[in-house]
Symmetry: C2
Subunit: 202 residues, 2 copies
Amino acid sequence: MDHPVVPLGQPRAERVDAARNRRRLLNTAREMIAEVGAEKVTMDGLAERAGLGKGTVFRRFRTRAGVFHALLDEDERAFQEQVLYGPPPLGPGADPAERLIAYGRARIAFLLERHALARAALDRAQPIPAGEAVFSPAHIRVLLRQARPDCPDSDSLALQLAAALEGPILLYLVMPERAEATRHFERLADSWQVLVQGVCRT
Amino acid sequence: MDHPVVPLGQPRAERVDAARNRRRLLNTAREMIAEVGAEKVTMDGLAERAGLGKGTVFRRFRTRAGVFHALLDEDERAFQEQVLYGPPPLGPGADPAERLIAYGRARIAFLLERHALARAALDRAQPIPAGEAVFSPAHIRVLLRQARPDCPDSDSLALQLAAALEGPILLYLVMPERAEATRHFERLADSWQVLVQGVCRT
């Protein structure tokens, strides 16, 4: 194939730069969140600390919420990898009902640990990005079919179980911050187990 | 209309007028929704058909979403009255597990019937008004305590069951309209029963 002389080289270098800048901005954002908390991270502060221009930050993430969204996205991929390829009982190899319980416990811990991040990623001008929460229903459905092959409608039941798992924490995102509410939600892991044991009749 | 002479009478007459206008606007909105669908109801059209000024409509409801919100609020009160004082198994008198199943079925039907209304009441500039959805968790908790007095944490479990019940339909509100999704959600009533029977071990 004929390669045109100059123009193609330039974009490739730009793409490499773009990826490097994105990586640097995300790492810097994580450092800042660990030090001062997600609420205090600003686009200006992020640009300054990363030694990049403000325009670069806006070009990569568009909004402040976009930065947190990208961080959550990275974490979500790592979480899903643990579920799909990690050790049992979260990963493959354990009894399906056990895996369902382990999934709920891991998911609740994951969501609670990222609560400030998720709140910061929530763009208040936009509705909750519901369409993105597709992993939990899909994973729960697979395990439910194995745990209860007689289940009349595992699609609907998986949707309801996923809502039971993520709904209370998701709704809490848009409610006022309250310490006791966080403690309350930690108890969700135990009642998730009651729910799964009931449905799987173990 | 007679206007009282003394200044104190004036606000009372205004309040009577305000209540009457509000009633007339809500009734007119219901007629229009039945005829042309919620999406096609505008503040201008509502004012014109009710024979009231545009300013009156805005003063009563502030936004177009506010009109639908007021209608939902009326319906919600009537629904709760059926649950608290109506005939069993939805109302008092039946076995608690049976009441839980009846509650879920009635609630799903209620939410699906009002889906266009709820979508129209959703102010896209605001997050989902999560704090208002407090009746379902409270009612489910009461019945759950009766059905499973041994339940280790009925608060958390009630929160999860309420999310299982309302979450899928609530999330669907912010997703694109799809006919097959509505059909799918009608199956939620059956899987709600599976969920309750599992938890109540009936």
